[in-house]
C-alpha cells in the first residue's frame, strides 16, 4: 500500500469510551512530570499498536511481474503467521521516541563524569560529516577506485594514531575497546606461535577493567592477576614474580584505573620484554596523555584506542564505538587483513597478508565512527590534542581538590591524571553506600561517577570530568557532592530513598534477574523466559 500520511486504520472502530478516569488520558498526555513521584511511564510501542495502522508505505508491487509463490518457494520455507510487529503510525513513533528521549540523561543535557568512560562533549560537525552520503551511503564491497576518499581518510587517521602512540601501523576493524583487546591478544598469540614459542599466560593487574580478563580468556590464554602496590601502582616485585617465559603479555592501562600514571613503566617494559613477553596498552585512559607521552616510547608493543572516548564520538546509549589497534613494527604482519596501503597517487586494500590473524569484523569496522574521529582530529590538530590532555588532567585535579574534604581518596597518591577514585567508606559508616551517593546525585541533576570500580577500592566512586567541562560545572557538581556528604552525616535515610525526582524511583534489580522478563508479550501470553536467582549479580556491581 502506498501513500497517505494521515492516520490510517482505526477509522472504523467505535470508541466505547471505556472508563473516563485519568489513567487513559495520562497515557496519551505528555508527561510534564517526567520526573518525580507523579511521573507517568511511557507505554511500550506494542501497547500503542492498533490493528491496521502503519507508518510504512511501499510502491505497488504490481509494477513487477507477479510471482507464483507455490512455484518459487516451497511451502515449508514460507512464513506461516504474521510477525507481531507493532501497528503504529509515524506520528505514534515520533511521539513515542521523543517522549522516551525526554526520559534519558545524556551529555547533551549535562555533566556525565562516568569514570573510565570519558564522556566528553561530542562536537556536532563530526555528526554532520558522518551523515554525508559520500560516507554513510558507501557499500563496503565497492572496489577501491570508487572509494578513494574513504581510504584516504583511513590512511590519514592511521598515520595520526601511529604518531600519537609512537607505533607503526593500525587496523580499524575492532568495533570497540574490548574488540581491540581480543584482536591485540590474538596478534600476540600469533607472534609467539610464529616464533615457535607458544605461551599460555597473560598477566593483568587487579585493578584491570573486566574486559581485560575476559578478552584474555577469549584469546585462549589464562589470566594471572597481580596485586597493586599500596601506592596504587604496579608492584614491581609482584610483577617480577609473575613473569616467566610462559607469559605472553602484560596488559595494563597507563594511567591506570586509579587515574595514576605508572611512573615505573620503563622498568616494567624491561621486565616484560626480558622474559619475551609483549606489553599491551589498554587505551581507555589515553585521554590523559594525548600528545604528552606515547605508549610506544614507554615500551608498549600493542595499543588499542577507544575512539569513542578519546576522540569524542558519541557513545550512543552503549555504542557504537571504535577500538582500532596500533602495533609496533614487529607485529605489523599479523594485523587483520585487509589493510589500506598507498598505491601510486591513491590507496588500495592490501589483502595479500599471509601472516595476518584474519578478520575480526565482517567489513571495515565502524567506519562512521572513524569519520567522526577524523573530524575531531582535524578540529583539534596536534596542539589541540595536547590541550585536551592538559585540561582533562587539570579538571580532574581541581575537582578532586574540591571534593577531598568530604570524601576519601581510594589511594592517596597525587596529582592524579584525568580521573580519580574516591571511596565512600566514611559515608558507608554513616549509612550511605557509594550507590546511595550515586542516586543522590541523580536527584541533584547529575549523572553519577562510575561506582564499585576498580574493585580494589572499597565503595569506589570513580570520577572522570573530562576536558570539555567548565569550572562552573565542576563547582556545581562539587557542591552537589558536598551536600550529599553533609546529608549522609546528618541523616543518610533520604539518600537511601533516592532518587525521588528522576523519571522512576530506585529499581528492584533483583526482581528483574529473578523473574526474567526480557521481552514484551501480548497480555494473552505468559512470559516464557524464566530465570535463576543465582544470576542476579552482586548489588555492588561495577558500572563502567
Amino acid at each position: 500500500m502506498t501513500g497517505a500520511i494521515n492516520d490510517s486504520g482505526g477509522t472504523g472502530t467505535g470508541a466505547t469510551g471505556n472508563g473516563g478516569g485519568i489513567g487513559r488520558a495520562a497515557f496519551e498526555a505528555v508527561p510534564w512530570a517526567a520526573g518525580g513521584r507523579e511521573g507517568q511511564p511511557e507505554r511500550l510501542v506494542f501497547e500503542r499498536s492498533s490493528p491496521g495502522r502503519r507508518a510504512s508505505s511501499f510502491p505497488d508491487a504490481g509494477a513487477l511481474p507477479p510471482v507464483d509463490l507455490d512455484r518459487v518457494l516451497p511451502a515449508g520455507f514460507r512464513r506461516t503467521e504474521p510477525v507481531r510487529l507493532p501497528e503504529v503510525s509515524e506520528r505514534d513513533l515520533v511521539r513515542h521516541y521523543t517522549r522516551l528521549a525526554h526520559r534519558n540523561y545524556a551529555v547533551d543535557l549535562g555533566f556525565y563524569p562516568l569514570g573510565s568512560c570519558t564522556m566528553k562533549y561530542n562536537p556536532k560537525v563530526a555528526e554532520a560529516a558522518a551523515a554525508l552520503p559520500g560516507f554513510a551511503r558507501l557499500h563496503p564491497a565497492q572496489p577501491a577506485e570508487q572509494v578513494q576518499g574513504a581510504l584516504e581518510l583511513l590512511a590519514r587517521l592511521e598515520h595520526a594514531l601511529c604518531e600519537l602512540t609512537g607505533l607503526a601501523a593500525a587496523t580499524f576493524q575492532p568495533a570497540a575497546g574490548a574488540h581491540g583487546e581480543l584482536t591485540g591478544l590474538l596478534i600476540i598469540r600469533a607472534h609467539h606461535e610464529a616464533r615457535n614459542d607458544p605461551r599460555r599466560r597473560v598477566v593483568i593487574p587487579d585493578a584491570a577493567h573486566g574486559t581485560n580478563p575476559a578478552s584474555v580468556r577469549l584469546a585462549g590464554f589464562e589470566v594471572t592477576t597481580v596485586a597493586s602496590s599500596p601506592e596504587g601502582l604496579i608492584d614491581l616485585d609482584a610483577l617480577e614474580q609473575a613473569l616467566d617465559t610462559d607469559v605472553a603479555a602484560f596488559m595494563i592501562t597507563n594511567p591506570n584505573t586509579l587515574g595514576l600514571f605508572e611512573r615505573n613503566i620503563a622498568q616494567v617494559a624491561k621486565l616484560v620484554h626480558r622474559v619475551g613477553g609483549q606489553l599491551y596498552y589498554d587505551g581507555a585512559n589515553f585521554n590523559a596523555i594525548l600528545g604528552k607521552a606515547r605508549p610506544g616510547d614507554m615500551g608498549f608493543d600493542v595499543v588499542h584506542l577507544n575512539l569513542h572516548k578519546t576522540f569524542a564520538t558519541p557513545h550512543g546509549g552503549g555504542g557504537p564505538g571504535a577500538g582500532p589497534l596500533v602495533v609496533a613494527e614487529h607485529l605489523v604482519d599479523f594485523l587483520p587483513a585487509p589493510v589500506v596501503v598507498r598505491d601510486g597517487d591513491g590507496y588500495r586494500w592490501d589483502t595479500d597478508r599471509p601472516r595476518s590473524i584474519g578478520r575480526v569484523h565482517g567489513w571495515n569496522g565502524n567506519f562512521g565512527i572513524l569519520v567522526r574521529a577524523f573530524a575531531y582530529l582535524l578540529a583539534n590538530g596536534g596542539d589541540g590534542l595536547r590541550g585536551v590532555a592538559e585540561r582533562a588532567v587539570l579538571n580532574a585535579n581541581y575537582l578532586l581538590e574540591r571534593l577531598s574534604s568530604a570524601y576519601q581518596l581510594g589511594y592517596p597518591s597525587r596529582p592524579v591524571m584525568h580521573e580519580f577514585v574516591l571511596s565512600a567508606r566514611k559515608q558507608k559508616g554513616q549509612g550511605a553506600r557509594a550507590l546511595d551517593v550515586a542516586k543522590g546525585l541523580i536527584d541533584r541533576g547529575f549523572h553519577p561517577p562510575t561506582v564499585y570500580f576498580p574493585l580494589i577500592v572499597e565503595e569506589a566512586l570513580m570520577v572522570e570530568p573530562t576536558e570539555t567541562e567548565s569550572v562552573e560545572t565542576l563547582d556545581s557538581f562539587a557542591e552537589a557532592m558536598l551536600e550529599i556528604a553533609a546529608q549522609a552525616q546528618a541523616d543518610a535515610g533520604p539518600l537511601r530513598q533516592a532518587p525521588v525526582t528522576a523519571p522512576v524511583g530506585r529499581l528492584d534489580e533483583a526482581r528483574a534477574a529473578r523473574t526474567l522478563v526480557a521481552r514484551w508479550h501480548p497480555p494473552s501470553e505468559p512470559d516464557r523466559a524464566g530465570s535463576d536467582p543465582a544470576d542476579e549479580g552482586p548489588p555492588d556491581k561495577p558500572t563502567s
Binding site: V45, S56, R217, L260, A266, G317, N380, I442, K541
Partner: protein
C-alpha cells in the same frame, strides 16, 4: 583553577611522567582546523567516493541498500540517545532501556526465539559469539560450518577459533545449497553445532527444518545466520528448530556506512540465557511499583564475571539497535511482508531478465531465492562490474576467488528500492557491456537455464 591547586603551569600536573618519556614536540599531526575547514575537508573526501545515491545498487552480500525511512535517524539521532552511554543508572536512562527492551522483543519476533540480547558488533562477530555459546552449552568443540556461509564470516570464525577451543569442519554446498547429507555424515557426539546462513551467501534458501532435525539428532545446536529483512516471506529459523539465531542488522534502518556501524543480533532459547553474550534488558518495578527497565543477568558479563564472562563485550551497537527498533515499528507486520514480497518479485524479475542475455545464466536455476542470486557471466565479473559503473550501476559482487567453481559468478542483490526500470537498466547495460567485450557470442550463450554444478567445496 590552577590557583586553587597552588600551581602556575598545568604542565606541573604531568610530573609523574618521567621526562624522558615525554612525547616529542614535533609529532606529524594536522594543524588545528576551524569548523568550516573541517566541514570542507570532510566534504572533499566524501565527494571522492561514489555513493549509493549516485549509483543504482545491486550489490549486497550481507549489506543491502534497503530504504531507511526519514523518521529513523530523526529519532535515533536525538542527543538524549546518541550522547548517553550504557544505562548503568537506570533511573535516568529509561529512554534507552525501554527502547532496547522493545528492540529485544522485535528481534525475538523476527527470529522466533524468546530471548534477544541488546546487540553485538556485527553479524559476523555474532556468529562467533553464537559458536562460543554452543561450545559452552554442549561442552563439545566441533562446529560444522556450511560452505554457503559468507566467506567473510567464515574468515572471522577462523580468526576467533584460534583463541577458542573450536574445531571448524566445512560442509560443502551442492547446487548452491548446504549439503545436508554431508552434515548427516559428519555430525557426531563431538558436534557442538551446525552453522547455516538463511538465505545463504548465494542467496539460496536453506532447509532449516531438516538441518535442525539432523543437529538435534546428535545433541548439537543449530545456529542460523538470518537476514531479518526476509522474515516477511521466510519462516523465522527459530520456529523451524534453530537454537541460536544471529544476523547482521544493517538492513534494519541502518545506512551501509561502508560496513559499519550497523549491528549484530543474537537470540536464543530461555535455556541458554545464562550463556548469552552482551547486555540484556529486563523488566522490573520501581519503589512506587511502576514498570521500569534495567540491565539484568549482569553476572554473565565481563564487569562482574571477568575471565569467566560469557563474552568480553562492553561497548556494543546500542544506537544502531535503537534505529532498528524504530525501523521495525515503522515497518509493521504488513510492511515487513511487503518488503519481502517486493524483494522477491524484483529479484525474480531481475533473474529472468539477466538469464535471457546471451551468455548469461543462473548459477542455481532450480533453487529457491528471495532477494539475491548468482549469475554466471561469459566474461570476467570484476571487469564487467567495473564497466557497469559507467552506466551508473553497481551490478553485484564478483565471486572470483570467493567461491570455488563460481569464478564466473556475479552475486546480484535486489531490494525493495529497485524498480522495474532499474532492473531493465541493469539488464540492458549488462547486455551492452557484454557486447562491448565481445562476450555475448561466447560459449553457452542463450542457455540461461543450465543446471549449476556443485560449487564451493
Amino acid at each position: 583553577m590552577l590557583a586553587t591547586l597552588g600551581l602556575d603551569d598545568v604542565d606541573q600536573l604531568f610530573k609523574p611522567i618521567p621526562s624522558d618519556l615525554r612525547a616529542p614536540a614535533d609529532l606529524d599531526l594536522p594543524r588545528p582546523h576551524a569548523e568550516q575547514e573541517v566541514a570542507a575537508e570532510l566534504g572533499r573526501l566524501a565527494a571522492r567516493n561514489r555513493h549509493l545515491d549516485e549509483l543504482t545498487c545491486f550489490l549486497g552480500a550481507g549489506v543491502y541498500d534497503h530504504y531507511v525511512p526519514a523518521a529513523v535517524w530523526y529519532l535515533a539521532g536525538r542527543g538524549e540517545f546518541a550522547t548517553s552511554y550504557t544505562p548503568y543508572q537506570p533511573e535516568m536512562s529509561q529512554g534507552v532501556l525501554q527502547a532496547l527492551f522493545e528492540y529485544q522483543t522485535l528481534i525475538s519476533e523476527l527470529t522466533g526465539l524468546e530471548v534477544s540480547n541488546a546487540s553485538l558488533y556485527d553479524g559476523a562477530s555474532a556468529v562467533a559469539e553464537a559458536a562460543t555459546m554452543a561450545v559452552a552449552a554442549t561442552r563439545r568443540s566441533e562446529l560444522l560450518v556450511s560452505a554457503a556461509v559468507a566467506p567473510r564470516v567464515r574468515e572471522l570464525l577462523e580468526t576467533y577459533s584460534r583463541g577458542l577451543d573450536i574445531k571448524l569442519v566445512e560442509i560443502g554446498a551442492l547446487d548452491g545449497q548446504t549439503d545436508l547429507e554431508e552434515v548427516r555424515g559428519k555430525a557426531s557426539d563431538q558436534t557442538a553445532a551446525v552453522l547455516l546462513a538463511q538465505p545463504n551467501f548465494f542467496g539460496v534458501v536453506e532447509d532449516v527444518a531438516a538441518a535442525a532435525e539432523l543437529s538435534n539428532g546428535v545433541g548439537a545446536r543449530l545456529l542460523v545466520s538470518f537476514d531479518p529483512l526476509t522474515a516477511g516471506v521466510l519462516e523465522p529459523p527459530g520456529r523451524l528448530g534453530a537454537d541460536i539465531v544471529v544476523g547482521e542488522g544493517q538492513g534494519l534502518g541502518n545506512h551501509p556506512n561502508f560496513g559499519g556501524p550497523a549491528f549484530g543480533f543474537l537470540a536464543c532459547r530461555p535455556e541458554d540465557v545464562r550463556r548469552l553474550p552482551g547486555r540484556l534488558v529486563g523488566e522490573t518495578l520501581d519503589t512506587a511499583g511502576r514498570r521500569a527497565f534495567v540491565l539484568t543477568l549482569q553476572a554473565r558479563e565481563q564487569h562482574i564475571r571477568r575471565e569467566k564472562a560469557t563474552s568480553n563485550n562492553c561497548t556494543n551497537q546500542t544506537l544502531n539497535a535503537i534505529a532498528a527498533a524504530v525501523y521495525l515499528s515503522w515497518l509493521g507486520p504488513q510492511g515487513l511482508e511487503e518488503v519481502g514480497q517486493l524483494c522477491l518479485r524484483a529479484a525474480r524479475y531481475a533473474a529472468d531478465r539477466l538469464a535471457r542475455i546471451p551468455g548469461v545464466r543462473l548459477a542455481f536455476p532450480e533453487q529457491p531465492f528471495v532477494k539475491e542470486f548468482v549469475v554466471r557471466l561469459p566474461a570476467d565479473p570484476a571487469e564487467v562490474s567495473r564497466r557497469m559503473v559507467d552506466h551508473g550501476l553497481l551490478a553485484g559482487l564478483p565471486l572470483t576467488g570467493l567461491a570455488p567453481g563460481l569464478e564466473d559468478g556475479l552475486l546480484v542483490a535486489v531490494t525493495e528500492r529497485r524498480t522495474k526500470a532499474d532492473v531493465d537498466r541493469l539488464a540492458d547495460a549488462l547486455a551492452a557491456v557484454l557486447a562491448d567485450l565481445g562476450a555475448d557470442r561466447a560459449e553457452g550463450a542463450g542457455d540461461g537455464r543450465r543446471k549449476g554444478e556443485e560449487v564451493a567445496r
